[in-house]
Symmetry: C2
């Protein structure tokens, strides 16, 4: 494997000059430059990233720490990050915290000690912790939180407006005649759980529907939880007439529970889900859902990270909020529409 010396020798220059051509850090005579470039070509020279990052204390790798690799939503997000990284000629270290703060911490340590150039994180908790942040800050490694906000100061975030999404979803149910609307949301320790519950409440409030805590359930973002909580809700009398689900996997479990109870969607129970996914419109299934721009979420976070990398001087914290949209299918359309004035 050719190294910078070989290139220098072949081109008849010093390694400094080769380095300058490589990085464009200083002017090099055009002819010399050409000769160097030819030498790099013929030797198929590729700079050694280890030597580089040893010297510069920075790699061409960014870390992506997500919370659930099983969730299709995050696959889109990963893809967004990945494509943007490819475009900027960075590689991507993928880490999966599995919603476990311990594992998240473990991976933060890995990313730190690997000296990644930057990190994009779907946090599992409210704070990443000043201990972590100051370590990264000290080494000038930017961090961008994505999908979920953290309370730490100075952490950039790229989010979707969850309050708005949920509010829109539930308002849609109300406008279509549903009144006893229950909600199954994610953990209240993360903004995607809390904000969507908040949106649900606001929609009810705006429509002057009394708030009933019994109709609110929350738990972890998985199908089993969706099934369990939906089962609980279905025990309640009088029966709920609609269900708002806080993410795609919760929806999956809810559908299962409804089917087990022999309840038809939307005739017996209206339904609006969160996250557009493979099975949203599959066969007889036709779910009204909130679409999140998952790909854009990832791509935007990556772009923000690269802004930091290209201009380390940027200090200001930035919060980008993308807008979800409602796609109306039949799972929410069995009652007489009864728009409520707000």
């Amino acid at each position: 494997m050719a190294n910078i010396q070989d290139v220098a020798k072949l081109a008849g220059v010093s390694i400094s000059t080769v380095s300058r051509v490589l990085n464009g850090t200083a002017r090099v005579n055009n002819e010399v430059k050409k000769r160097v470039e030819e030498s790099m070509q013929t030797l198929a020279y590729q700079p050694n990233p280890a030597a580089r990052s040893l010297r510069t204390n920075r790699s061409r790798i960014i870390g992506l720490l997500i919370s659930d690799i099983q969730n299709p939503f995050f696959m889109r997000l990963i893809q967004g990050v990945e494509e943007e990284a490819l475009r900027h000629e960075y590689s991507l270290i993928l880490c999966n915290s599995n919603e476990s703060p311990q594992r998240e911490q473990q991976y933060l340590d890995v990313l730190y000690s690997e000296r990644v150039a930057g990190a994009i994180i779907v946090p599992t908790r409210e704070y990443l912790g000043e201990a972590n942040l100051s370590k990264f800050r000290e080494r000038n490694i930017p961090i961008v939180a994505v999908d979920r906000r953290v309370k730490d100061k100075d952490v950039d975030a790229v989010l979707v407006d969850n309050v708005r999404g949920a509010q829109e979803a539930v308002t849609h149910l109300i406008n279509n005649g549903y009144r006893r609307i229950a909600a199954v949301t994610g953990p209240l320790t993360v903004t995607t759980g809390r904000d969507r519950l908040e949106g649900y409440r606001r929609a009810l409030k705006d429509a002057r529907i009394p708030h009933n805590p019994e109709l609110e359930r929350s738990g972890t973002f998985d199908a089993e939880t969706g099934r369990r909580l939906t089962n609980e809700l279905l025990q309640i009398n009088p029966r709920i007439d609609a269900l708002f689900l806080g993410n795609n996997l919760l929806t999956l479990g809810a559908l299962d529970a409804l089917h087990a109870h022999n309840l038809q969607v939307p005739i017996d129970v209206g339904l609006v889900g969160y996250d557009e996914t493979f099975w949203s419109a599959l066969g007889t299934l036709s779910l009204t859902t909130i679409i999140q721009p998952a790909y854009e979420l990832g791509a935007t976070a990556a772009l923000r990270l690269f802004q930091h990398l290209q201009n380390p001087a940027i200090q200001s914290r930035q919060e980008v909020v993308l807008t979800p949209s409602l796609i109306i299918r039949s799972s929410s359309l069995a009652r007489e529409p009864q728009p409520v004035k707000v």
Copy 2:
């Protein structure tokens, strides 16, 4: 950030000794060792991976190059690799070729120049090419192909028995009274496409059902293709009575096409899919499918890779073949069972 010198100074030894303690490459006096370890503790010392891999020409990172990050099947596979990597204290660079050989090549170059310790690849083509392989071989970077076989010599592979899976699926349809069975499979340029078609043919042959090329369609592994090819198959007279699908996304498209034609599964058309996934048993849907051990596929490939890394002397090529299994649900059970003797 403390470096090895700081540790050495604090412990009152040379850096060589610290290195020896760190790597266990030679005996160190117990007391000295203890002192060194304490110093590492107090300084929160973490070895610099860049310096390490510069010296050893090997990183603690492995590359995973998959062909479609959107497919839930690969998510499970990724998770298998990721957990095994974590256990061995390796990080994972994730690359997504998107079934494009160009992008695959691009990423192979990235992995090579990043000096990954090893690579796990879901190939998009029949050959990785001797040019690539010899480069990796020269630097002693092991490669393991996963899910799909390549024809190159000396590439380890971890596979699922696709012929067997498909054969089992189609035999099951036959045993349950279906006779005009069509197949929609993936691209014939990859083993997961070709082998499953082969399994389909063998099942028919074993049952002495005449082979009808018109009932075989193949295309890329996505829902749109599944829909299109199923639509084509539904034009044929007399109508097919069952459908075998070559992967999860093809199944998704097929279900859509059947629904659009107002055909009921399994009454009008029996169906067996490939890959167990979120929507296999969702509401009224109840798909008989071939389950692939996706997680094990990834974990096994990673293990094989680490075998190579721990013992670079291993030369022998190994092909591990895992066994798929059939899970019977109602999508294949509307006819009178008519077992065929084989």
